[in-house]
């Protein structure tokens, strides 16, 4: 089983992530699938994370938390967020098979980030469904 995304869709998603997240101060954002594949990744040019390892771990982490949710009788835990000294990381599900991961610093509030992530996801859904 495999799936393909073309230049137009990928460009579209990159544009959304850049305008809605990177341009507003998010350090790094990537869209992955639940198998851990990296679909789109962008950063502000000042950081160099090992995106492929991050993607594998994020997919595993999200899967583990979803499995925990089911055990305690929840559909899903809606907020998945880890807070650090300088960097924070936020996970958001996109449809059933994708995950948007955002890394951001102190200068961005969690509330604002969630708002922007929700907006971006709306647009990405449209692109993925097209």
């Amino acid at each position: 089983m495999e799936y393909t995304l073309g230049q137009k869709q990928l460009d579209g998603m990159e544009e959304v992530l850049k305008q809605d997240l990177i341009d507003l101060g998010v350090h790094c954002v990537f869209l992955i699938d639940m198998a851990g594949n990296v679909i789109v990744n962008l950063d502000n040019g000042n950081i160099e994370h090992d995106i492929y390892s991050l993607a594998a771990l994020a997919a595993g982490n999200f899967g583990a938390v979803s499995a925990m949710a089911k055990i305690v009788g929840e559909q899903e835990f809606s907020l998945l967020f880890h807070k650090g000294e300088k960097e924070n990381i936020h996970f958001s599900k996109v449809m059933t098979d994708f995950l948007l991961v955002t890394i951001f610093g102190k200068e961005t509030s969690l509330g604002f980030l969630r708002l922007k992530v929700t907006e971006a996801i709306g647009k990405i859904k449209k692109i993925l469904e097209s």
Binding site: M1, E2, D33, A35, N37, S53, G60
Partner: protein, 201 residues
Amino acid sequence: MAFVNLKKREVQVKVVYYGPGRGGKTTNLEYLYKKFKERIKTEMVAIKTHGDRTLFFDFLPFDIGKIKGYNIRVQLYTVPGQVKYNATRRLVLRGVDGIVFVADSMKVRREKNLLSLKNLQENLATYNKNIFKIPLVLQYNKRDLSEHGIPLLSPEILKNDLNAQLKAPSFEASALIGTNVVLTMKKIITMTLASLQRELK
């Protein structure tokens, strides 16, 4: 669930090393990591317990170069083999494109191999995947132990136990020494890519 990126002309595929606990899955990846260190560039990720048993998975990304103009990135994973970790084992299988089943050749592990293979079949079924259809390679590991006087299952017995119906390509190997570790990996990649070939125009 391989991902084909037409923009970067890149294909990402997921290969999972499966098998009973202590069979040598992690050792396979460690050998590959050492052997191809200069091509891998990043650290190998390992989520493990203090006793070095895999708790969630190991992860090793592997750039194997270009095929038909596409850059091929293979992501190698191992599962935790211990019976109690089935929930995490199943998570690692999500979106798998090819599987290496690492069987333990030690006589005392005969039953464990059978149970693990059965468990693989069940876990694949939860993703609507069929063990007879997915690219699969068997590895009969720890062959080096015969030199130390440790009783091993003969290749015929292993074949009868595990591969009589599957009829998958199989290799006798030693992950510790490195015998046939690269060959196992190359075989599963070739098979996995062949099954994706239709997509690569």
